[in-house]
């Protein structure tokens, strides 16, 4: 019994240390973004020579949103002789195929990849792999079907590849339906903290900005030469980030390359989305934890940041266990009531404002973006934390089963709402 109590106490202390380390990380990033010298992106480069670009738009039952994305892409100011758009229709059962084909008939630079074979592997990584085989561009840029790229966005993203060290580029995602309800308001705040502060700070500090799988691009040759996307991993974006960094490339973050997305409007849809992200991210963690530590292409600070980033979707599960741990210790008489309450308050506050949607970063982002009224919604993030803890923990357990059983993963698509 004594050994068990010691283990429980040790685990509790380890979790507190992890919490403190993440809080320090968030504080450093917020401070950097607010007060330190900012790196500029390559957006100001004017160049008459741009690379050949293929825009890939993965689609599965996107009839509500698809035309908006394609219309936005048609309006872009990229040289048509160097632009190709491939819509990847991945086993859609609605009118996605018809809509896509109608655009292909009208515009010769829009092509369709219809994936209809019931036996073939589904999902975004498999679709991207197949589309890359037919792509003519040297640079691949990906937009999800609910995104609305602005006129000069492709130019901004493509400019980053002038730098030979850049393997991928990432733009900034902004919810178009931020004022729809409380969940979209909270997601807007999370995005503000995540992009305006977290990603930009990591870019400033030369750490590991993350390629996010959409509103971003990568060098086709690098990915094709290393076997394409791993179809057993749901988070192909995070996998790409770590693959590039361990190969010696970097991901460039361009805060000015902004693009609207449609954020989930119901808790159920958001829960499934975050569970999928957690599952995929943890699959990447299992694959790259060791490689990140031993990589010769990463600096010491990049390795530290890389490990923190890899563990982001494991920490809520660890905290979930820590709360259970504290309850057990209380009932076996190892914590008196004041300490248990203190621990609960400590966890509650951290969970509310310090973990998945880091309070410091969101506050800093809200200041930088000039969000005033939305700041009042910050305390509501505590609800979403407990919500996220539940779904992320389930995603973490899914990932463990994936790795142990080597099963094929299935893509759980986020529901679209088709807002104007």
């Amino acid at each position: 019994m004594g050994v068990v109590i010691t283990i429980l106490k040790a685990y509790f202390i380890v979790c507190i240390v992890i919490i403190v380390l993440y809080a320090v990380r968030h504080y450093v990033f917020s401070y950097n973004r607010m007060f330190a010298k900012q790196k500029i992106s390559y957006r100001d480069i004017y160049d008459s020579d741009y690379p050949k670009v293929t825009v890939l738009v993965p689609m599965h039952n996107e009839e509500l949103v698809l035309h908006k994305t394609l219309e936005a892409l048609i309006q872009c100011d990229y040289d048509r002789s160097k632009l190709e758009i491939i819509g990847i229709n991945d086993h859609s059962e609605d009118k996605t195929a018809e809509i896509l084909d109608s655009y292909c008939e009208k515009y010769d630079y829009i092509k369709a990849l219809h994936r209809l074979d019931p036996d073939q592997l589904r999902g975004k990584p498999a679709g991207l792999n197949e589309a890359m085989e037919m792509a003519n561009g040297d640079v691949i840029i990906v937009f999800d079907a609910d995104y609305r790229p602005s006129k000069n966005l492709i130019k901004k993203l493509a400019t980053a590849f002038k730098d030979p060290e850049v393997g991928a580029v990432m733009g900034r995602v902004i919810p178009i339906n931020a004022n729809q309800n409380y969940i979209t308001t909270l997601l807007n705040l999370e995005r503000t903290g995540g992009y305006q502060v977290d990603q930009q700070a990591r870019y400033n500090l030369g750490l590991i900005p993350q390629y996010g799988g959409t509103v971003g691009g990568f060098r086709k040759k690098v990915i094709m030469n290393t076997g394409g996307f791993d179809t057993k991993i749901l988070a192909e974006d995070t996998e790409l980030t770590y693959r590039l960094y361990t190969m010696g490339y970097v991901v460039m973050y361009d805060n000015s390359a902004e693009c609207y997305e449609e954020a989930p409007e119901t808790w159920n849809v958001r829960g499934r989305q975050i569970r999928r992200w957690a599952r995929g991210h943890n699959e990447v963690m299992f694959k790259y934890f060791g490689r990140t530590i031993v990589s010769k292409n990463l600096s010491f600070l990049q390795k530290i940041d890389g490990i923190f980033l890899l563990m982001v979707y494991m920490v809520p599960f660890l905290l979930f266990l820590a709360i259970a741990d504290s309850v057990v210790m209380f009932f076996v008489g190892q914590m008196d009531i004041v300490n248990a309450l203190g621990a609960f308050i400590f966890f509650g506050i951290y969970n509310s404002w310090g973990n998945f949607a880091p309070f410091y970063e969101i506050s800093a982002g809200a200041i930088l973006d000039g969000l005033k009224k939305e700041v009042y919604a910050l305390p509501l993030l505590s609800f979403s934390f407990y919500f996220y803890m539940w779904y992320i923990s389930r995603g973490f357990l899914d990932a463990i089963v994936d790795v142990v059983t080597m099963r094929n993963v299935t893509w759980d698509k986020t529901k679209r709402f088709g807002k104007k």
Partner: protein, 351 residues
């Protein structure tokens, strides 16, 4: 003890619930989505183009009580010459316009012909076909000579100075952004002797570079710090260290350093140059691509950046220092200030 505990619990509940009440009372319909302009297009001559568009629309609508309706009603003068020291109104002229200094124009000057600003003139903004700024002029916002822009010594060029064809800038000027398909930086007195054709890089040199057999390094040489004299390299150079490219080296590929890059005399680079630190380009260097620094960029005597007929950029997070007798084909920009310098002053800076 129990009393204190109860008070603490009550305080905790009140303090944690109060923000929730605020949060839940946040009016949903007043929350704004961050604005992303879907029609946003990059254009280095955005200011003059936008101004001309607004002005032409206003001129089409006509004059109302001596006012033109631009973004707001503006008083204006139609004139080829003004005599006041301070001109409060917008100046419009169909023919050429000559401003005699010292004087201050608080609004824009627009001409469909040539505009000459005499020494020590201060103007908010100027739009002309051909623009001549004499010595020590000051531009507050922007100026543009659609066909040609000539800038004398000691001028402050404000936020943006542009031309759709050609620009010549003398020494001791300060700027933020310069743009023209060809920008020449000259020493005062030399400009008349120098013809634009002289600045075109001999294309046979570049072709020779592309065809070179010798390959010293390929994609990523992470710890390289020196490219030796007269080396001939095909491939990209990516390094974490300071990089020095010695005299006479020829490189066909892009260069990136996490620290500083120094490019010595007579080097030819057919590619882009990126550095997280300074980029120091010494004399007689040819870079056919863009030059980008997260710190300062120095472009030395008789160097050429870009290629005739193409647009390239020289960009620095902090400062750009341009020595006399250099050419940039395209855009030059920095967050702090850029300077044009005589050779002697430029060399002093490097020391």
């Amino acid at each position: 003890m129990i009393g204190i505990f109860i008070i603490l619990v009550v305080c905790f509940i009140v303090m944690t619930s109060f923000p929730f009440i605020l949060a839940l009372r946040t009016p949903k319909d007043e929350q704004a989505t961050l604005v992303v302009r879907s029609d946003n297009v990059k254009d280095p001559r955005y200011f003059p183009k936008a101004f001309k568009e607004i002005l032409n629309k206003a001129l089409e609508k006509g004059v109302f009580d001596e006012f033109l309706i631009l973004s707001r009603p503006e008083k204006f003068v139609y004139s080829e010459k003004v005599n006041d020291n301070v001109i409060h109104d917008l100046v419009i002229c169909r023919d050429g316009f000559i401003a005699v200094g010292p004087a201050r124009f608080e609004k824009e000057i627009y001409s469909e012909n040539t505009v000459v600003l005499d020494e020590q003139i201060e103007a908010r903004a100027v739009s002309a076909q051909k623009l001549l700024l004499m010595n020590k002029c000051k531009i507050v916002r922007w100026c543009d000579g659609e066909k040609e822009t000539y800038v004398g010594t000691g001028c402050d060029l404000g936020v943006s100075t542009t031309s759709d064809d050609y620009m010549q800038v003398m020494e001791d000027c300060v700027f933020h952004r310069l743009y023209a398909p060809q920008v020449d930086v000259m020493r005062c007195g030399d400009s008349k002797q120098i013809k634009r054709e002289k600045r075109i890089v001999d294309s046979s040199i570049l072709q020779e570079l592309k065809n070179a057999d010798e390959t010293s390094c390929d994609v990523a040489a992470k710890d390289i710090s020196i490219i030796y004299e007269n080396s001939n390299i095909k491939g990209n150079i990516i390094t974490k260290d300071n990089l020095v490219i010695k005299e006479g080296a020829r490189i066909s590929g892009h260069i990136k350093s996490r620290k500083n890059i120094t490019i010595e005399k007579n080097v030819i680079i057919d590619g882009n140059v990126f550095a997280d630190g300074n980029v120091i380009i010494k004399s007689d260097v040819r870079v056919t691509g863009n030059v980008f620094s997260q710190s300062d960029v120095y472009v030395g005597y008789n160097s050429i950046i870009g290629q005739y007929g193409k647009i390239k950029s020289v960009i620095a997070k902090s400062h750009v220092f341009l020595c006399e007798n250099i050419t940039v084909f395209g855009y030059i920009g920095c967050d702090d200030k850029g300077y044009t310098l005589q050779k002697e002053k430029f060399l002093e800076l490097l020391v």
